[in-house]
């Protein structure tokens, strides 16, 4: 079997295994697995509204996934996507409420503000890693908490003591009547296009630019990269900054599309952490991230329908998702299995 075919088959088998495990758990727990999956399917594709909402859900996952994947490709583990996303969310919402401008300026400005905020939040661990060799994992974990508290405080300041900002001006919104009507008033917004553009941006940076070449090289071997004349420090910082910018734009999707405001957060959104899973499901490639986000987002969104339509706790989908990721990680076994089967067939 060709390598490409195997590469495709691995995630497919992982998904099948995940669903199988989920089915077994449902059966053992006394639920009807067929009803459960029917509800899940219904929850994702049931009608236009749901399809719209599913796509909306996928949008921030794509960006969070890109953020994690991009850092990974440069040899960095960015657990701070969550925090970068939160500051991006705030920045976009702030620009959205603070001024009213023509849409053609306002919307890009708000997205840019989010990217800049996220980039700044990524710059800190990048700088500390490059200059002081501080492990980026700890710094980004700490910065997540800092982002949460700082943004909550800023919301209070900006909104004059309230727990949320006003809604952003329409000129900064990603929402569109057209998409809403198309999908039966779902909150589907133009963010998905922004996300897909960012997918292309990541692909372009990594695969088409000298910067991408350097980032990958530094990711694999800092020593050799330095010997080859690359600026390792600069590349580490740059990788974190770009990664943070992707995450920040992910926040903008929420600020300008899904919610159109930002409110105090009692805890993390989870999107940033899920971004790790998305990136890894997608093997850290731009296109892979789209698939990872689609799978992850669909399951998460569709799961909401399970307690409703089949009386099964949503957590079953969490289990299924985890099992899928587990088997993607352990793809060696699946590959071995595919090879064995392949060989047996050849033998015959």
């Amino acid at each position: 079997m060709s390598n490409k075919a195997v590469n495709l088959l691995v995630p497919v088998l992982a998904v099948i295994l995940g669903l199988l495990v989920g089915a077994i758990i449902m059966l053992v727990s006394g639920y009807n697995a067929i009803d459960g999956y029917a509800a899940l399917w219904e929850g994702i594709f049931g009608d236009l509204y749901r399809v719209g909402e599913t796509v909306r859900q996928i949008t921030p996952y794509i960006l969070a996934g890109l953020a994690v994947a991009f850092a990974f490709r440069a040899g960095l583990f960015n657990i701070g996507v969550e925090g970068q996303l939160i500051v991006g969310w705030f920045a976009a919402a702030y620009v959205g409420v603070a001024v009213e401008l023509p849409k053609i300026i306002h919307l890009p400005l708000a997205i840019l503000a989010a990217a800049a905020a996220g980039a700044f939040w990524g710059f800190i661990p990048g700088l500390l890693k490059a200059k002081f060799h501080v492990h980026e994992v700890i710094v980004t974990i700490m910065l997540n908490y800092i982002a949460l508290h700082v943004v909550n405080a800023l919301i209070e300041v900006v909104s004059g003591g309230s727990e949320r900002t006003e809604n952003i001006f329409a000129s900064a919104s990603l929402r569109s009547e057209f998409l809403a009507e198309l999908t039966d008033f779902s909150r589907l917004h133009y963010g998905i296009i922004v996300a897909l553009i960012m997918v292309i941006v990541m692909w372009f940076i990594l695969d088409k630019t000298t910067t991408g070449f350097e980032l990958k090289s530094v990711g694999f071997n800092q020593n050799a990269s330095q010997y080859a004349g690359m600026k390792v420090d600069r590349n580490i910082i740059l990788a974190m900054v770009i990664s943070g910018a992707f995450a920040g734009i992910g926040g903008a999707m929420e600020a300008l599309g899904t919610f159109e405001y930002v409110s105090s957060k009692a805890g993390f959104t989870g999107i940033g952490f899920d971004g790790i899973a998305v990136a890894l499901l997608g093997m850290n490639t731009p296109l892979g991230v789209v698939f990872g986000a689609t799978l992850f987002g669909s399951l998460q969104y569709g799961a909401l329908n399970m307690p409703n339509a089949a009386g099964i706790p949503v957590e079953i989908v969490g289990i299924v998702t985890a099992v899928i990721i587990y088997f993607v990680a352990a793809s060696y076994v699946i590959r071995l299995f595919i090879e064995r089967v392949g060989r047996k067939k050849e033998a015959k």
Partner: protein, 514 residues
């Protein structure tokens, strides 16, 4: 029983690739048995089978006549087989003693008894004249001492049969001499040795018999006394070969590299290069001879911008490049074949093709306005792969999968084809077989003949003597003398490198600089 080890018709496959195709090796008690073959011939694989790291697909192993099934290194240890690996198997942040006792610890009340263990190591070390400090950390000791630790590891386990996989590849001439003495002492103690080396001279000097393998197949075994290097070489390659590098006279012209009063410190702030002066001209190869650790690495790193210069200057073609970033130095016309190809020379997880463009990816025609053209990288890679005979499946194969010789050829191709005014080659032939060495040497000479400057750093007297036009001897961070190869004997050079008799030799080698 005549043979202590018999490996009969051993077959080892990696997927569809046959690394060992029915090879037979028989080792007599008390002999040094050399194993010879080109890079990738299958020597290490065969030894890894003997040591239980690989399970063979076919064949039989007998130890002292008894068939044994060596399923893992523990079995090998129990059979009295010890191995000194090509790439050292030492835990860098452990002490010598810890490395030696690992897996076979001496305990007192459940706690590792380091005191007693290090005493034993000390004793063993003295018994075989190995001169090892049991309490030193591996990362702090020289390569030579690391190797002696590897030997101690096997002796500590009571090995009777010792396998040495390319033990001399990374040793200095002094260390090699010591190692040979150690091996002879081991034989005297009744042990048997299997020795893998690419250096025919060593085989001729120390071994009793030689088994030759070629492309995974056994060619046969000969008595060392009844053969000569030429015959061994042709047996190894499979045709008549001439391994002497042809080299005409040098015609040095303008100064390319000029180092003045250079002082460089290491990361601890200790001066490793002290007010060093050196020039290299167009059309000459200057060899830096010296024992490892006398400032060679720091010197190169300072020239290439990888290390901060404390004082002094470095100029390329008359242009001061002191303190330049590596990229700027490269652009000033310097090519660099680094000492450690895995760590510094290659991004092992990148395809060979990417590695070949590791210095030029940002320049036209590969890149324009920051946009990179991978098809051009591939095209260039194919050219160089062809021209430098880099054996790889394709330019997209990860560099990791290439043999050391081919990795090195790719690096040479990359650096030489950039046509630098100054080519710095640090230990360019380490671990390579004679064929590959010859290839690389002729590339260096070719550069010189095209009017380029070449700076060669080597620990091997042979190499320095044969390739250089002028030899600068480095000792304790300074060039203590410069000699002409044709006017100097190996003995003299060796003494110089050890820092001896600076004045007398200087007078003896009077007319060296033109």
């Amino acid at each position: 029983m005549e043979y202590v080890i018999e490996m009969l018709n051993i077959r080892k496959e990696f997927g569809s690739f046959v690394a060992n195709d029915n090879i037979t090796l028989q080792v007599k008690k008390g002999e040094i048995h050399a194993l010879l073959g080109e890079n990738g011939a299958g020597k290490s694989t065969l030894m890894n089978v003997l040591f239980g790291l690989y399970q063979p697909e076919g064949g039989e192993i007998r130890v002292k006549g008894k068939p044994v099934d060596i399923t893992d290194p523990n079995v090998a240890n129990n059979q009295g087989i010890g191995m000194v690996h090509q790439h050292f198997m030492l835990v860098e942040n452990f002490t010598v003693t810890e490395n030696i006792i690992l897996g076979n610890e001496l305990t007192k009340a459940g706690v590792v008894n380091k005191k007693e263990a290090s005493k034993r190591v000390q004793k063993l070390s003295e018994q075989y004249g190995l001169n090892v400090d049991p309490n030193a950390k591996i990362e702090d000791i020289s390569v030579g001492m690391q190797q002696r630790v590897e030997i101690l590891k096997t002796l500590y386990r009571g090995a009777e049969i010792l396998i040495f996989d390319e033990p001399t590849a990374s040793l200095t001439p002094q260390e090699i001499t010591e190692l040979i003495q150690i091996m002879q002492r081991l034989i005297a103690e009744g042990k048997s040795i299997i020795l893998i080396t690419h250096k025919l001279k060593e085989i001729m000097d120390v071994s009793d018999r030689v088994t030759i393998i070629r492309k995974g197949q056994g060619v046969g075994t000969v008595n060392t006394a009844e053969t000569n290097p030429d015959e061994l070489a042709s047996l190894m390659v499979g045709r008549q070969v001439e391994f002497r590098t042809e080299k005409g006279e040098a015609h040095p012209k303008e100064v390319v590299l000029s180092v003045k009063d250079l002082t460089v410190t290491d990361y601890r702030g200790i001066e490793k290069v002290k007010k060093l002066n050196l020039t290299v001209r167009q059309g000459e190869i200057v060899g830096i001879a010296g024992i490892d650790g006398n400032g060679q690495s720091e010197l190169i790193e300072a020239i290439t911008g990888l290390r901060k210069v404390k004082s002094g200057t470095v100029a390329i073609n008359g242009k001061d490049v002191t303190g330049f970033k590596p990229r700027k130095v490269t652009e000033a016309g310097v090519g660099h074949i680094p000492q450690d190809r895995h760590k510094h020379g290659l991004v092992l997880d990148f395809p060979v093709g990417h590695n070949i463009s590791l210095q030029t990816y940002y320049l036209p025609p590969i890149s324009k306005n920051g946009v990179i053209h991978y098809d051009r990288i591939a095209a260039r890679a194919r050219e160089i792969i062809e021209k430098y005979d880099v054996r790889t499946q394709s330019e997209m194969t990860p560099a990791r999968a290439l043999s050391g010789g081919n990795q090195q050829k790719a690096i040479i191709g990359r650096e030489v084809e950039r046509d630098p005014d100054l080519l710095i080659a640090a230990l360019p032939t380490r671990g390579l077989d004679v064929g590959a060495i010859e290839f690389i040497h002729s590339r260096l000479i070719e550069q010189r003949d095209r009017g380029k400057a070449v700076l060669l750093i080597s620990f091997e007297l042979d190499e320095v003597m044969n390739v250089s036009d002028r030899i600068a001897v480095i000792y304790d961070g300074q060039i203590i003398d410069e000699v002409l190869p044709e006017a100097t004997s190996e003995q003299e050079l060796g003494l110089l490198m050890a820092g001896h008799s600076v004045r007398t030799t200087k007078e003896g080698a009077e007319p060296h600089v033109k």
